[in-house]
Symmetry: C2
Subunit: 207 residues, 2 copies
């Protein structure tokens, strides 16, 4: 199909499609003349994926490019597919795992993780995200103490068990599932939380 038809099928303007092509977010079509190329279903699927990651997942185009690179060419030698895939979602300077010899900064989230007994890399930058988010809750006096965090962590373990159970054995398919599933299921969980809040509140009120 021509680029105008690709635009119709995906709802993405031709100018944006050309931008994706220039930035390598979309693979080139088969050249049919000096000014035209032919696109197929793989292009439709890729454009929809880029839109899903940016519009629903809230990722920048730079992060989408990094995520797609990992999805397409994962290093099959990596033991911890989960952590490696997650890191592709972070900034470019955080994609590599820090050296094991690096100092581990002390933090409240790391202390809590130690007590919790979760087997995670203590240098993982996601722990810094948790520290920042926790501090923001304190600043707003949301009342997020350790007991409540532990209760949320119980629920997070259930979610993670579902996530990990959905990851296939094949390394490339696994990386794809982890990266896309992590980014795109977050908004699903966020909507479910809000709806469940209403359900629980109404049920308690009625009960």
């Amino acid at each position: 199909m021509r680029i105008s038809r690709l635009s119709e099928q995906t709802g993405v303007p031709v100018a944006t499609l050309k931008y994706y092509l220039r930035e390598g977010l979309l693979h080139a079509g088969r050249t049919t003349s000096r000014t035209q190329a032919d696109y197929d279903d793989t292009h439709v699927e890729r454009v929809r994926l880029v839109r899903a990651l940016t519009e629903v997942g809230g990722l920048s185009l730079a992060t989408v490019a990094r995520v797609l690179a990992v999805v397409e060419a994962p290093d099959p030698g990596r033991l911890d597919v989960m952590a490696a895939a997650q890191r592709s979602l972070l900034g470019p300077d955080l994609v590599e795992v820090p050296e094991p010899s690096g100092d581990v900064p002390a933090s409240r989230a790391r202390d809590w993780l130690g007590r919790r007994g979760w087997r995670v890399d203590p240098r993982d930058p996601v722990i810094d995200d948790l520290d920042r988010a926790w501090a923001a809750c304190d600043d707003a006096r949301v009342g997020l103490d350790e007991a409540r965090l532990d209760a949320y962590a119980d629920a997070a373990e259930r979610v993670a068990a579902i996530d990990v159970g959905a990851v296939p054995d094949d390394p490339q398919a696994a990386v794809r599932q982890v990266v896309l599933g992590t980014v795109l299921v977050d908004p699903v969980l966020s909507a479910l939380r809000r709806l469940a809040q209403q359900h629980v509140a109404v049920s308690r009120h009625a009960g």
Copy 2:
């Protein structure tokens, strides 16, 4: 304290503080001269709250203004504080509950909610968010079928029970807790999910 000291205490530039004052995000200080005003701890707390909502919660300043208006002057006559508070996070045209006589559009998320038996307003715009997020998962072939959504919903009910349990009886404090807790705990849950994924994956690999 002077505005320069307020800037030091919060780490927010003076120019940004003046912008907050102009936009009504920050209440005026006590005027001490024609060009100076005095600020106190309530200003420090408010500035930190605005930063937490924008930087950690990811809200726009327009949404922050709407959220703060609800937090400060909730309508105590509203039965469903939870739903009303949630709506303040949506666009201005969605703040009001739709008319009960309005048509309910058919959608996959609404069908699923009907089977699930959650007591939510079928016209709630959060259901549209769920439809969009679910469709994005389909586009990316994440494999989110109804069984997996139900499993996530079980976990969401646990999270919601913790959320609702943390809501105080006083209506104004309740709205504050719902609005700020919903926005600011989302990033905490997101970080916990990623860490729990690693823990579950490593534990399964080791076990």
